[in-house]
Symmetry: C2
Subunit: 301 residues, 2 copies
């Protein structure tokens, strides 16, 4: 695999993910010039002050000028508008990639703008993050030994794909490839569902009379279960609707399963609940051992 | 408040909670003799070898002999049987307390055995724990700056209550008092619900075709959300049924709320979802700040 290098790399959206990627690439010494782009001058100036980017542009068309690599790191719902702005100004050889949590919607949005998916666009999703937002929360180790799922299509240019793989490899990520459709199903179940359910439980409690008291007695289990409900509401509402088609069937199955648990509890069927809890613990413990395995350095896909 | 002291303290159930309490009391130097009791010789011998207890008895009646303080730290469903065994052998002045996650069921079970609640029994619940079980997982700092909720009744002996408060204070806990009924409502919402929902989600995913792959791509959000699904299935099935009356209404409300969220997603009503996520984030962030506040040393109730 070729070592990654960029003479001018443009990151549109310098938040937690965009900022962390910028920091990691800079640390790896693989980029000559790092251009940031966004809507908030304050945030971009902060990114310059923190040394995350070299300079910034508020206009996306200007930002991508002469860049050989462009990273879309804005909320997924901005993809169509953004691509419309940058497309006429992209260098012919420029590779464009994104970091969105949904892949089908991103590809469909770009297709809708461009007629077909540009061969130099490579859809990608670093499965990493914290509940924090903004460039101040960014750090260069965010992607270290984390999975990045890349979802090429039949028409994706092989060199563009290789370049995106090389970029994520240089920041320490573990690369997987699958179809966008499959990515969206997997992430609906393992990422979008927990977020939806955590926001849901906090909101259920928040609308109960004794809410202040409830929260004051909540302990470690609640804290960890609901940590993700402190994530950006805007970003997650975006993701839910962008991945609605994959999310709704899992949500439907979960609600049916929970109603069946409700029935078990109502019926006092302790043996049934015990079996279910045991099965879940076995899977969760197996998952815990997987976490240890797939994040090891040198672990291959 | 008086300093806690015990000449002979008996802990029935030397697991994570019982073992941690024993270690903490020993560290505080406030107990002359620490007797353990349980059903597994292996576990009790381990507790002796680790220095957690001085000696053990397999027979609860023998274990409580001449003890001035008795801690019930077995699963809540064992309470009635256990009390029946120990009641005739308790010292008249002995204070008995428990560590169960449900308080109404514990009090009702003891009442059913004794005709009325003994005045020297003080129901208590340390709101602390990890997903681990067993004496090897115990550690003396478990209760440090954690809440212990004590649920005295009108007939609780004042000195017995004061002694239980003194014991938890000496191991660093922050004491609250409320009714057993109120405790059970609060814990149903903030502790029992997250456990039920986490077990439920893992089980939903475990019964999907691509389960192995799903778990292999799950990330930090899923890991934290489902950590509590690695807790003891036996203990949590116990708790669910012991607190069924308080749990079912919250579960019902949550399922209704989630169905309403399902409707919002189906209808594509982004503004409604955004409002809900924002409200939840505000509450979660407020909770996070509460956590910082109530665990501070010297924080009073």
């Amino acid at each position: 695999m070729s070592q990654f290098h960029s003479d001018r790399l443009c990151i549109i959206g310098v938040g937690l993910i965009g900022g962390s990627l910028a920091r990691a690439l800079r640390q790896a010494g693989t980029v000559n010039e790092l251009i940031g782009c966004g809507r908030s001058v304050d945030n971009l100036q902060k990114a310059v002050d923190l040394g995350v980017i070299d300079r910034f542009e508020l206009d996306a068309a200007a930002a991508v000028q002469a860049a050989d690599m462009v990273i879309l790191a804005t909320p997924v719902s901005h993809t169509a508008d953004l691509y419309r702005q940058i497309a006429p100004h992209l260098d012919k050889a420029a590779v464009v990639t994104d970091v969105g949590s949904t892949k089908g919607s991103v590809i469909a949005d770009i297709e809708s703008v461009m007629g077909q998916l540009p061969v130099h666009f490579v859809a990608a999703h670093p499965v990493a993050g914290t509940e924090q937002s903004g460039v101040e929360a960014s750090f260069p180790e965010l992607f270290h030994e984390r999975r990045v799922i890349i979802t090429p299509t039949e028409t994706t240019n092989a060199q563009a794909l290789e370049r995106v793989i090389a970029m994520w490899t240089v920041v320490g990520a573990v690369i997987s490839q699958m179809s966008a459709e499959h990515h969206d199903e997997v992430l609906a179940a393992t990422s979008h569902m927990p977020h939806l359910l955590a926001y849901g439980l906090v909101d259920t409690l928040a609308t109960m009379e004794e809410r202040r008291e409830l929260f004051s007695y909540a302990a470690g289990g609640f804290r960890d279960f609901t940590r993700i409900a402190s994530s950006s509401p805007e970003m997650w509402a975006d993701i839910v609707f962008a991945n609605r088609d994959a999310l709704l069937p899992v949500l439907q199955k979960y609600l049916q399963d929970m109603q069946s648990i409700q029935g078990i509890v109502e019926a006092g069927d302790k043996e049934a609940l015990l079996q279910l809890f045991r099965r879940a613990k076995t899977e969760r413990d197996r998952f815990a051992s997987l976490v240890g395995r797939f994040v090891k350095p040198g672990d291959s896909e």
